[in-house]
Amino acid sequence: MTAFLNQCFSGLAMGGIFAILALSLVMIFQATALLNFAQGEMAMASTYLAWQLIQHRVPYWLAFFLTVILSFAAGVLIERLIIRRFASAPVLTVVIVFIALVFIIDSVVGWIFGYQLQEFPSPFPDHNWFNNPLVSSHQSGILLVTLIVMAVVWAFFRFTTLGLAMRAAAQNPASSRLVGIKVGWMLALGWGLAAAIGSIAGMMAAPLVYLDPSMMSSLLLYGFAGAVLGGINNPWGAVLGGLIVGVSVNLVGAYLVGTQLQLAVALTMIIGVLLVRPSGLFGRTIVTRV
């Protein structure tokens, strides 16, 4: 029983990382209906930045927040300098740009930092909190961070005028311009937020999977699975989807098929859900009146 619960909790912790990644995917998808394949590599680059700061003896949490802020800026810049120029290009062109970004970021990071695995510290203590036998403090720490990220993102979109303007720009760009919203900047902000959120996923994942330029590639697929499972147009569905993918993939890996087939299980889940419910488990089909 303890072993089973152990598996559940470690699945939940990985699920937290998938959930944060899923949230960053949804952030861009809602505004542009595009899946950013480079999200994982952007997060990986951010994690290297954090690692470099920590190597230079910057305290963990200072490095953490600096990384989040710099990743935000990098996300904004990528949108302003690159993605925006393809705003009216066919979808396939944009997909190719994303794939190019994946390889460019990957090889630049590999060129700077090398391809060997690096240890990345966890900010949480070594011993389990409250001496519980079930869940390590890094695992519960990930869940805590997931909850905080969700709360902050929710509060931003719910309570600030800027968050409202970003939602408006995503739903109805023409009307948004008519109330004076600079829609292009809202898209750039969305990229910035997605990059910032993704960097948190990277920093939470690195202590578990070690740091190397390809660390995020399978994680992103799981995040993608979570987003699609929960509903790519519903941030909270995507978060729940990420958690569900984390737990179920871990249990299936531990008890049914072994770890080699975990990714296959996740992808089978995506296909299954898409067959039965194309909008995802919690996806909204938005009712509009014209």
Partner: protein, 237 residues
């Protein structure tokens, strides 16, 4: 009377197709100009061109500034609010959020609260439905919201594209009474496109008849409504 909006030689269209072929018309400070014309004449296109939503050229003098090189967001900041074809409310957001967005460019938040109170006097229905999703409002309520959303900007010029579209006659009467009030009490100038020609000519001081992207007839509303061709084609007597 001073002229608030002076349009000269306005050309506009979609892609390579030119729909509006060099128009002249004016809106006076505190005045009401009606744009009339058959379906497809180019009325909606003219309003879109004024707001910079489509490609356009010509001289668009508004309160001493040329709108032509400006983007939509900048034009809004000059004090022009547009209630577009199809209302342009944010259907996925609540009434309250729609109104907050209407005031997006304003920095005087205290005055916005006062203006909002004034708007709820004009449209008490909106106050009752503050947290309802805009897409679930009735057509008339959505039109009220669209106008309220434009008014909260405190515009000098309000562009209205068929405010009576799809509404019952009594609601249309209400909306036009409200527009008259807005024009008279708040000194907001109006440029209104309307199929309900009688109501529009009643409200307007100037009227411009558009035919396939050119001005067919323009002048004081009383003269335009007395014109034989207008009477037969649009007023039906």
């Amino acid at each position: 009377m001073t002229i608030l909006l002076d349009v000269k030689g306005l050309k506009a269209g979609y892609g390579p197709v030119e729909v509006v072929h060099g128009l002249d018309f004016t809106v006076e400070e505190g005045g009401v100009t009606a744009l009339l014309g058959a379906n497809g004449a180019g009325k909606t296109t003219i309003l879109r061109a004024l707001c910079g939503m489509i490609r356009r050229e010509g001289s668009l003098q508004f309160a001493g500034r040329d709108l032509c090189p400006m983007t939509t967001e900048e034009i809004v900041r000059c004090g022009i609010a547009h209630v577009p074809d199809g209302r342009g409310t944010f259907t996925g957001l609540t009434v309250s959020e729609n109104l907050t967005l209407g005031a997006y460019v304003r920095r005087d938040k205290a005055a916005v609260a006062d203006d909002l109170a004034g708007i709820f006097v004009l449209f008490p229905r909106l106050k009752e439905r503050l947290f309802q999703q805009a897409g679930t409002l009735s057509g008339g309520e959505q039109q009220m919201l669209a106008i309220a959303r434009a008014l909260i900007l405190r515009p000098r010029l309000l562009l209205l594209d068929e405010p009576s579209f799809g509404l019952a006659p009594l609601v249309v009467k209400d909306i036009f009474a409200t527009l008259r009030q807005i024009n008279a009490m708040r000194q907001v100038s109006l440029l209104i496109v309307e199929q309900n020609v009688r109501a529009a000519l009643d409200l307007a001081d100037h009227a411009v008849l558009i035919e396939t992207g050119t001005v067919a007839l323009a002048g004081p509303a009383s003269l335009v409504s007395a014109d034989d061709a207008v009477r037969r084609a649009y007023l039906g007597y």
